[in-house]
Amino acid sequence: MAVAAPSRERARIEALERAWLERPGALGWLTTVDHKRIGLLYFWTTLVFFAAGGIEALLMRTQLAQSGERVIGPETYDQLMTMHGVTMIFFFIIPMTTGAFGNYLVPLMIGARDMAFPRLNALSYWLFLGAGIFMYSSFLVHQAPNAGWFDYVPLALRRYDGGANVDFYALGLIFNTVSSTIGALNLIVTIFKLRAPGMSWNRMPLFCFAMLAASLSLIFALPALTADCIFLELQRKLGFHFFDQAHGGDPLLWQHLFWIFGHPEVYIIVLPAFGIATSIIPTFARHRMVAFPLVAMAELLVAFIGFGVWAHHMFATGIATTTLVFFAAASMLVVIPSTIQIYAWLMTVNVGTPQFRAPLMFIGGFILFFVIGGLSGIMFAAIPFDQATTDTYFVVAHFHFIIFGAAVFPLLGGIYYWFPKVTGRMYDERLAQLSFWLTFVGTGLTFFPMHIVGLLGMTRRIYTYDHGLGWDAYNLVETIGGFVLAAGLLLIGINIVLSYRRGVPSGRDPFHGGTLEWTTTSPPPHYNFAVIPTVSSPYPNWDEADREEDLRKLARGELVLADGHETPETTVNDGAISAVAEMPPESPWPVLAAGTVTAAFFLLLTSHYATAGMAFALMLLTLVGWNLHEPEEGVG
């Protein structure tokens, strides 16, 4: 009997490997529908955009290091500062958190074999790549977007910005929005329907709550931006009137719609970072998260309340006092879910026995920077103070502490944390800790002086400034800090590359984390889990009895689902199995569809509307090809 059991298990595993195998080589990457490969594609692509945005920042900082510098002129500077914002927000942080981390980790954490819609997943990546290429091709013609990342009108109208710059901006964002919407849709349905048996809402990892909150926010926030950009292009290209008061429009319409998207956007940016923090802390503190239900609700609540605060970006526009006061109150309310989380994290660290290895150090840095950024944010809820310091470097400091300190630091910690899972090798701990300190000091040096120089009256988006205003020394320090920060980030990259080549094999579970990704091999096989795990707590990898039962299930052939390309669908609330879904195999249609859409957007940019229509029709044909290939019906 002991001899027969292993060969039965071997046969099942081989059946799974056959069912889930993808083509080798470059063609395999072009047609992949595996969420892990798509996650990696997102990861590398967003890193390239991160580098681009970083170079844009360093160029700006070089120009601003001293007063009266003439390294970079106003035209180039305006394109750099606009593209820095656009790149970092739309082409780095959102695709990195939702596309790379979300795609790779969510199915693993919920015990599924892939995302709900694998081909749609691939499409979201190829559309993202197309949108990024579209947006960056603007540099080739020296007409990159130049009206700031929030592109206020009337400055962005044809009369004041007659080149293609703003058209690249508006069309590029609409293009990218489609990708983000599809990605968010996929994450939501995956989290709703593909959770492992037994994973009711109260047993779902906090990382997934964060991804769910961010994805729901994307769904409800992006349409405002899409509509705004459509209005802008209709006005610029076809002479419609939305934003000029001479014909019944209103310039503030742009601002309202932009910020109705823009404020939830900042929570979309930071929520996945919260999710990473709530993954790393319990693991390294070796204790479950204190006040888990409060933290889960806080993550959803911050997204929800975040929809009601947008006009705090418009406090200086002269809107009515009642409006000012309402939005200030809502802006203060949204603080509470964040303070709940901060204290929950700190209490977990205190109640547990933390090991301060690199991932946890990055979370420590994150907490400090998040609190600084949060405190300056609260200051902006004092309306008179906001009206004094908005549009100065004080607000630049605030949002960089949040976006860099609070959103990127967890990403860096998360890269180290999940590096062993993705590659099967350990990173170098000493180099990692050094890279933390360099990045931490660099971040502080770059962004803290901005508070001071903003209070001293330095406005934002200026390509140079006068001597004698007291700003010089601070700007020099910030520039030096920027290069220190870049060095720290470079060190992280070096660590990753070296460890990939020469790192010690890490094994399945080097940190004894609590969530399901640690139960499978490093790296995971294409099918993620040989047996679909059954879950009875939020920390399934700490439930040894359940995991031993999984091994016995493999022997019995229970929940292996090796008859095809299968994963179970479960009910939304309780995680009880409702169906077995047959997943599609690899497919060329997503990359082809994305190609036609990219062509269509270039044609719209150059005002070839009829040809653009033909490109869209071609896209419909690719969708036909796509849907002709139905996943094969499995048993049941």
Partner: protein, 192 residues
Amino acid sequence: MTAATLPVRHARAKGWWGMAVFVATEATLFGTLVGTYIYLRFHNTHWPPARLPKPPVLTPSLLTAALVATSIPMFVASRAVGAGRREVAWRALTVAFAVQVFYLVWQLHDYVDAIHRYPPQESAWASVYVTLLGAAHAHVLVGVLLNAWFLVRIWSRLTRYRAVGVQATAFYWHAVNVITLVVLVVQLSPHL
């Protein structure tokens, strides 16, 4: 336990949920368009501009009523595919498709007229009006294409994949019908 013997609970397929999330996005988009109409209304003393004739009432209302009524055959089709009854589903889809095509062709013809009567290059009201109607008709067109696709697909065979597709399309149509009603109210609001 194999897939065939798993204890399963009745629940909606993931494809239906995907459509639900997509509908949420599109509904929000229309909310933004309608919100824009309302916002600009409060920034103008004459909305629409005084010299423009008010939009027609009868034709859009009758056409919209016909379109909304197609929710019934779409519902029938959705139920039928769930029960595996291919011919019933196909016939219901055909009925819906015929009315929807009729609606779309007539509305597109009137839309071209509307652009001439209310040039968007002359006022914000016309710009919003034309954009809102254009978006609505575009969504109807997408629904018509979806119906056409499934008419072809379930003519030969009904698989689970296609059945879920028909149910998702039915959901899409219910949403589009609600949105069309809302757009109609906005379209006719100068008369209120």
